[in-house]
């Protein structure tokens, strides 16, 4: 296995640098739709810089898990990100594991985050952990099924291979199976990134929180890692949606012109997805917690139907 070091470095930089902008953009657009001016799109960078400078307060009851988790979260998100083709058709870590490794990486990060929520034994962390795991139990299978749908068409579970397969003639973009799988993945995206109607990323009401509840005890550098990790995970999932279902404009080689064009296409697709997320957040209230499994079950069923229909309409 040959590691393409420049590609790894480039994509890591892309993940680290682009992800806060995507979060900032979504926040800013949401504010605009709500008749607010909103914070500038660069705000998340300033926030991260501020958190990195600040001292940390760590509960004396916290164990090593609490200290370990921010690194795990950041690293798993980055590793998962390296497995997804973003600007080029080939993913830097495309040679190992494929889609199972990707989902596994995200699950590992989530596992540690849930533990870290429980670890300092505060009021709200455990509540967040329990809710997060309930949601993950349905969201993860739905995500796997949706990706498998495309994988079966492409004949490989390796994300790079899937995207390469899609570049060949005869690939149908608007296959009904893909449309169903895309819908399922979009719901999963909302759940995994803690968006309305599943979770509210902007609330101060601890009793209603899911993702944020697990972060409440974090401060300073650790908080920066956690926030950054979450932003990267969001970028990874969006890239997955963008390039798996709309594999257009991916750079076939590493020439500057091709890369530049690929970057433009990638940015365009991300903007469109972000706009869709913003519209959903703008028009919806949060679901009652016990209704969230209904929504995710819908995603699971859509994904299952997508998988079945790949065999039916073959």
């Amino acid at each position: 296995m040959k590691l393409d070091l420049p590609a790894i470095v480039a994509q890591t930089a892309l993940l680290l640098l682009l992800s806060p902008l995507l979060s900032g953009l979504i926040k800013n657009w949401k504010a605009k739709l709500q008749n607010r001016r909103g914070a500038r799109v660069w705000q998340p960078y300033f926030d991260l810089a501020k958190f990195l400078r600040k001292d940390m307060v760590v509960s004396e009851h916290a164990s090593w898990i609490f200290n370990f988790t921010p690194y795990v979260l950041l690293l798993t998100a980055l590793t998962a990100g390296l497995m997804v083709p973003m600007v080029t058709a080939q993913a830097p870590l495309g040679l190992f594991g494929g889609v199972l490794a990707l989902v596994g990486m995200l699950a590992l990060g989530r596992f540690f985050m849930a533990l870290a929520g429980l670890d300092p034994a505060t009021t709200f962390g455990g509540m967040g952990s329990s809710r997060e795991m309930t949601i993950a139990a349905i969201a993860e299978p739905a995500m796997m099924m949706a990706i498998f749908t495309v994988a079966i068409t492409a004949g490989s579970t390796n994300l790079g291979q899937i995207v390469l397969a899609s570049q060949r003639p005869g690939w149908e973009f608007f296959d009904p199976a893909h449309a169903l799988a895309f819908a399922a993945m979009f719901i999963v995206l909302l759940a995994e990134t803690g968006r309305i109607p599943v979770d509210n990323p902007a609330t101060h009401l601890e009793l209603t929180m899911i993702h944020e509840a697990m972060l409440l005890e974090y401060s300073g550098r650790y908080l920066a890692f956690m926030e950054w990790g979450a932003a990267i995970k969001q970028l990874v999932l969006m890239a997955l949606l963008a390039n798996l279902f709309f594999p257009l404009g991916l750079a076939a080689d590493a020439t500057p012109a091709a890369l530049g064009l690929g970057l433009l296409w990638f940015a365009g697709k991300l903007l469109a997805l972000a706009a869709a997320v913003v519209l959903v957040e703008f028009t919806n209230a949060k679901l009652r917690l016990f209704r969230v499994p209904d929504l995710l079950s819908a995603a699971f069923i859509l994904a299952t139907l997508a998988l079945v229909s790949t065999f039916l309409f073959r």
Partner: protein, 531 residues
């Protein structure tokens, strides 16, 4: 005795039934009847008024009269909405044996108020189902701040008493979730202890009075004109309602009627206060279920009202307007035009907001069937105001015992029976629409003339009840005047004190993440409760 004809049969029936045990009856105002009775009669009289005459136990409070009569007096304030008046039952408690038979078992609405008397006056409750500390926390030393021999400037010893023991629900998988007293939002302190099995709430214990400020004691130290500013600060979101209720009490004690224009201007201010609070609450309920879009529009409308408030009175929260005998500032033609324009604009934009919230199925799904307060519980706990009216408890002082200009305007009182968050939301929405109508009518009928009558020194030893239907519910200020234009006692009754226990009932069987929106739908004042 100059008594309202509708109260007369009630008095006759009570005197017939209890005879000489009612020692004295008098009515300083036609709708305010005092019955002085023997201590043993308190329970029976209250129960009769409560059960037979559909009275609401609107207040229970005590007064230290040991200096003159060597007794404490305990008053039971019963609001008889159908008879358009109030009955105050007064019983003496011997100073050497300060004990009171609790009425809480018969009338649960008395619960917190009786315990407050026990804490602040040292009158021991007999037969109370839960006679633990309430207004003063468990670690307070044995002092009784509202007794006359307790100096306002007393330095208390360090609090060394026992910490409060919360009630715990036990069982497999039952957890305690403590929330507060310091919260994430910019709100006041209050402690909520949830006992949960997973997400569903089995029991919620509330603990208030973290910011007891001794306001009722402070009233006794100030000349009456200064007290108005104090009344304004009891609860920031009800400053007009509290100040106006206090002014009513003073005017009734002095036997002065404020001029018609003053009453009209007070009504305008009360309705503006109702408007900005209701609209803000409608938005806040939406944001608690993450429908932030509606919240932002509501905030915009609220800000518009606050700016007109400032244009009218020089203060965004309408402070400084109230004074005994009338109001302090008149509105000129330009200000009235601004107000009329506000009402027109607001009505249009509020309709859009209503449509936005009505048409969102996700929002309705969150609000409907959430936090149900049944009509029976609402009546038992004496839940007042919007929360009561959303649970079928039909009363509104503006209609039943009209004060200020409310007898001159036409309006309906929205009453719903569902008792869930959606009903409390809808009652607010409907009341906003009624407020527009009230404001228009007041402006159309606005009388000319002076805005205040001079109020000399208020005669000593008068008792009077001031009342106002604030936006949250009814507010009472009961005063007993003292020589030198001062007060011997001022009892402040904020609707929040009455409604907090209802929250514990409404949340049962709901899930924890729904608590914030249920709480917001009541939107009770910590400051008004703690005083």
């Amino acid at each position: 005795m100059n008594l309202l004809p509708s109260l007369r049969p009630i008095l006759d029936e009570l005197t017939q039934r209890f005879g000489a045990q009612i020692e004295h009856a008098h009515a300083p105002q036609p709708n305010e009847l005092y019955l002085h009775a023997k201590l043993e009669l308190a329970g029976a009289l209250c129960s009769t008024l409560y059960r037979k005459h559909q009275g609401r136990l609107a207040g229970v409070f005590a007064e230290d009269a040991r200096a003159g009569q060597n007794v404490f007096f305990v008053y039971y304030l019963l609001a008889l909405d159908a008879a358009h008046g109030f009955v105050l039952v007064r019983v003496p408690i011997p100073a050497d044996q300060p004990e009171l038979n609790s009425v809480t078992n018969a009338i649960p609405a008395a619960n917190w108020q009786e315990r407050e008397i026990q804490d602040l006056f040292g009158i021991r409750l007999v037969g109370h189902p839960n006679p633990r500390r309430c207004a003063l926390h468990d670690d307070w030393p044995e002092v009784y701040p509202l007794r006359k021999d307790f100096d306002l400037h007393s330095q208390l010893p360090p609090f060394m008493g026992e910490r409060h023991k919360f009630r715990e629900v036990e069982g497999e998988g039952v957890f305690q979730v403590p929330v507060g007293p310091v919260h994430a939002g910019i709100i006041e302190p209050g402690h909520f202890l949830f006992s949960v099995a997973g997400e569903p709430v089995l029991y919620l214990q509330l603990r208030m009075f973290y910011v007891h400020k001794g306001i009722e004691k402070l009233f006794e130290s100030l000349p009456i004109p200064h007290c108005v500013r104090l009344a304004e600060s009891i609860s920031g979101d009800s400053s007009v309602a509290h100040a106006t209720a206090f002014c009513h009490a003073v005017e009734r004690a002095a036997g002065v009627e404020p001029p018609p224009r003053a009453r009209a201007l007070r009504t305008i201010c009360l309705e503006l206060e109702r408007l900005y609070n209701h609209i803000a609450d409608i938005g806040a309920i939406c944001t608690d279920v993450a429908f932030v879009t509606a919240h932002m529009h509501a905030m915009r409308l609220k800000e518009r009202i606050l700016r007109v408030n400032e244009e009218l009175t020089g203060n965004r929260l309408l402070r400084g307007m109230a004074c005994p005998g009338g109001v302090r500032f008149d509105f000129d033609a330009g200000q009235l035009r601004a107000l009329a324009q506000l009402v027109d604009e607001l009505e249009r934009q509020f309709n859009d907001l209503s449509e936005l919230t009505r048409g969102n199925s996700g929002l309705r799904d969150r609000l409907e069937t959430t936090g149900v307060l049944t009509p029976k519980v609402a009546r038992d706990l004496g839940v007042v105001g919007i929360a009561g009216r959303a649970s079928g408890f039909d009363h509104d002082l503006r209609r039943d015992v009209p004060h200020d200009f409310y007898d001159q305007v036409q309006f309906t009182v929205p009453v719903l029976t569902g008792g869930d968050v959606q009903c409390r939301f809808d009652v607010r929405r409907d009341e906003v629409v009624q407020s527009f109508a009230i404001l228009r009518q007041v402006m159309a009928k606005l009388p000319a003339g002076p805005i205040a009558v001079p109020l000399g020194e208020v005669p000593a030893d008068r008792v009077a009840l001031g009342y106002v239907e604030g936006w949250r519910g009814e507010i009472f200020h009961w005063i007993h005047t003292a020589p030198g234009n001062r007060l011997a006692r001022c009892k402040v009754k904020d609707p929040s004190l009455q409604n907090w226990p209802a929250l514990s009932e409404a949340i049962l069987g709901n899930i924890i993440p729904d608590f914030p929106v249920v709480n917001k739908s009541f939107n009770l004042s910590y400051s008004g409760t703690d005083r």
